[in-house]
């Protein structure tokens, strides 16, 4: 092969390979929406949406479950978050309503987002939430105090072995929102 034809063949291949590298860089960013869609389609990581009630057999006379409520605030967020009910017993299938009180003790407007967490973690899929302040971001003026209901029932399909569930919220400061 002559030198100049070889050079142009090399450059053509170089361009193709550089394009692959660029596309793969784009692919890394493309993984973000792909990941979100996969989570939505498969129902994994569905933290901020009401559960479908469906045909869950409610009122089944299963043994009562001990429910514990808790809340934590991210360091630096000037909020006080506490459940008004610490513990209660409920039958699977029975609607439960508890309230959380949030106070913005800081001198600035803050937007927060609560993320629920369950102990044991495997019990999470059996806690069917119908209403929750964690479904959306909450804006609080300085000194504002509000109460929020959490309405849910425990799916009667809950394994017999699990008789205690802790529902714990961690409240995060949403960066870039609020004053």
């Amino acid at each position: 092969m002559r030198a100049d034809t070889r050079r142009s063949a090399n450059l053509a291949l170089l361009k193709k390979l550089a394009l692959i590298a660029l596309l793969m860089f784009g692919f890394a960013w493309g993984l973000i929406p792909i990941y979100r869609v996969i989570c939505e389609v498969t129902g994994i990581n569905q933290l901020q949406r009401a559960d479908a009630v469906g045909k869950a057999a409610r009122g089944a006379a299963a043994a009562e479950v001990l429910l514990t409520f808790d809340a934590t605030v991210q360091a630096g967020l000037p909020w006080q978050v506490r459940p008004l009910t610490g513990q209660l017993r409920a039958r699977p299938g029975e609607f439960v309503k508890v309230e959380y009180e949030i106070v913005n003790a800081g001198a600035r407007e803050v937007v927060g987002q609560a993320i629920p967490r369950y102990l044991p973690a495997a019990a999470g899929e059996y806690v069917k939430k119908l209403d929750c302040f964690c479904f959306k971001q909450q804006a609080f003026a300085p000194g504002e105090r509000r109460r929020f209901p959490v309405v849910f029932f425990v799916d009667p399909a809950l394994p017999e072995a699990v008789r205690e569930i802790t529902l714990s919220y961690t409240v995060f400061d949403v960066p870039g929102k609020g004053a």
Binding site: R6, A9, N10, L13, L14, L17, A18, I20, A21, L22, M24, F25, G26, F27, A28, W29, L31, I32, Y35, T42, I44, N45, Q74, G112, Q113, I115, A121, F172, D173, V174, P175, G176
Partner: protein, 540 residues
């Protein structure tokens, strides 16, 4: 042998002094730079490893505060992966590929220079980061969010270093692919090409496919840190687990980026010293390719404890186990190559056999870890540390030592000291196992990785491992001494110092002429690059 040696030095005269290195465009000079750079980084990362082992010699805190300890584990990992192992293989590829396939040089000589000279500034950024407020990155080499989205400016320096090293390795890979696909001498067809060329080609494709993904994910960390995005911030709608998915989409192929060239090197050395052709050449090529393809489908086996659905765990578990099939094909082919061979045990052969034995140990502990139920128990324990050091130290590093000893006569024109080489091998073999074998027991007993302090019952095995590590580290000075001594005083090497070697580079005089194959030779080639006949080929 019809080699026309043109001794006249025209406008291609060899540059002298520092400009020979700074403005290097010759593939041999750049290969040499890569090899010395990676050895320097190997010693740097090694000193950090000794810092880690010194702290772990006894429970309690003796030398470092936990924060500095975490910085040492993080930088040890990053420097060994991106500073030592990867550049060493690129250096080997630079030195050897043109000689093996009959090309005059790498396809893009100036880009080659840039690929190398990006590395020292990147390494400098990593080392300097120890001195900035907050210290170096301490999130582990995987830089998991949300740790990496919180730390001080050491993390920013690390991210920039990764960008630079990523660009360097992508350019190096483009060079390797274009050289192999476009510059092979007539007769050197793809399915006759030596295994090291195949391994380098496939590795280069892997690098081009996944290094940009790493660059992307660390860029997201950077924008989360400074520009108000929340890719990995749960409060802003992001997800820290997402980081792990994107990182390991890069991270698992990266494992094979550090293993495939080692497979290639061993596939040269075993046939040479067994004086038999490589068993199952075609199956070796296909096995290497299938390992590369499968490596894109197994990333979540690093994430079994993130709360994945059981279906996903099973998929990634079976896919991971599947990789043992092509890897097994390779190990059995190597053993079959040795079978009834006329074997002699020179230093490269010792390292290659050590590689096959110990890499298999690391491979088998990898299969153990691939079982999701077992992995959930062993995740982030010292069992994992033992596993990946068996494949990276006894695997990648031993293969690199084998390669340096094997090709040293061709590179330098002198023989290394066989006595010191053998001492280096046996010393490394013994102390490697003393260091890392007890880590299996520590992990099974529940000792977590990346901690500066531990429960008292782990003391004995940690002491053994620390003694082993210091002896292993000391032994690498034997290697350095051997190389430095042999470069000056070694016996002159013949063109083909190994009786059983049959690839193209051994047709050249030793040391290889500065400008080799200026005109391509006409080759008659057998499998694995065995030269049956050669016409022409001009060197300066």
């Amino acid at each position: 042998m019809a080699v026309v040696t043109d001794t006249e030095q025209g406008h291609h005269a060899r540059p002298r002094g520092w400009s020979r290195w700074l403005a290097a465009t010759n593939h041999k000079d750049i290969g040499t730079l890569y090899l010395w750079f990676s050895f320097t980084m190997f010693l740097t990362g090694g000193v950090m490893a000794l810092g880690i082992r010194a702290e772990l010699f006894q429970p309690g805190l003796q030398f470092w505060q936990p924060d500095l300890f975490n910085q040492l584990t993080t930088l040890h990992g990053l420097i060994m992966v991106f500073g030592a192992i990867m550049p060493a293989f690129t250096g080997m590829a630079n030195w050897l590929l043109p000689l093996m396939i009959g090309a005059p040089d790498m396809a893009f000589a100036r880009m080659n220079n840039w690929s190398f000279w990006l590395l020292p500034p990147a390494a400098l950024l990593l080392i300097v980061s120890f001195a900035v407020p907050g210290g170096a990155a301490s999130a582990g080499w995987t830089l998991y969010a949300p740790l990496s989205t919180q730390m001080g400016m050491g993390m920013d320096l690390t991210i920039f270093a990764i960008h630079i090293m990523g660009i360097s390795s992508i350019m190096g890979s483009i060079n390797i692919i274009v050289t192999i696909l476009n510059l092979r001498a007539p007769g050197m067809t793809l399915m006759k090409m030596p295994m090291f060329a195949w391994a380098s080609l496939i590795t280069a494709y892997l690098i081009i496919a996944v290094m940009p993904v790493l660059a992307g994910v660390v860029t997201m960390v950077l924008t989360d840190r400074h520009f108000g995005t929340h890719f990995f911030n749960a409060a802003g709608g992001g997800d820290p687990v997402l980081y792990q998915h994107v990182f390991w989409f890069f991270g698992h192929p990266e494992v094979y980026i550090m293993a495939l060239p080692a497979f290639g090197i061993v596939s040269h050395i075993l046939p040479t010293f067994a004086r038999k052709p490589l068993f199952g050449y075609a199956s070796m090529v296909y096995a290497t390719s299938s390992i590369a393809l499968l490596s894109f489908m197994v990333w979540a086996h690093h994430m079994f404890t993130t709360g994945m659905p059981a279906t996903a765990q099973l998929f990634f578990m079976y896919a991971t186990m599947l990789i043992a099939v092509p890897t097994g094909v390779k190990v059995f082919n190597w053993i079959a190559t040795l079978w009834q061979g006329s074997i002699s045990f020179e230093t490269p052969m010792l390292f290659a056999i050590g590689f096959v034995c110990l890499f298999t140990v690391g491979g088998l502990s990898g299969v153990t870890l691939s079982v999701a139920a077992v992995d959930i128990q062993l995740q982030d324990s010292y069992y994992v540390v033992a596993h990946f050091h068996y494949v990276l130290v006894a695997g990648a590093l031993f293969s690199l030592f084998a390669a340096v000893y094997y090709w040293f006569p061709k590179m330098s024109g002198r023989m290394y000291s066989e006595r010191l080489g053998k001492l280096h091998f046996w010393w490394s073999l013994v102390w490697f196992n003393v260091t890392f074998f007890p880590m299996h027991f520590l992990g099974l007993a529940g000792m977590p990785r990346r901690i500066p302090d531990y429960a008292l019952q782990f003391t004995s095995f940690n002491e053994i491992a620390s003694v082993g590590a210091f002896c292993f580290g000391l032994g690498q000075l034997i290697f350095l001494y051997n190389i430095l001594w042999s470069l000056r005083r070694g016996d002159p090497a013949p063109a083909k110092p190994w009786e059983g070697a049959d690839t193209l580079e051994w047709q050249l005089p030793s040391p290889a002429p500065y400008h080799s194959f200026v005109e391509a030779p006409e080759l008659e080639v057998g499998e694995n690059g065995a030269i049956r006949g050669m016409k022409g080929g001009v060197h300066h």
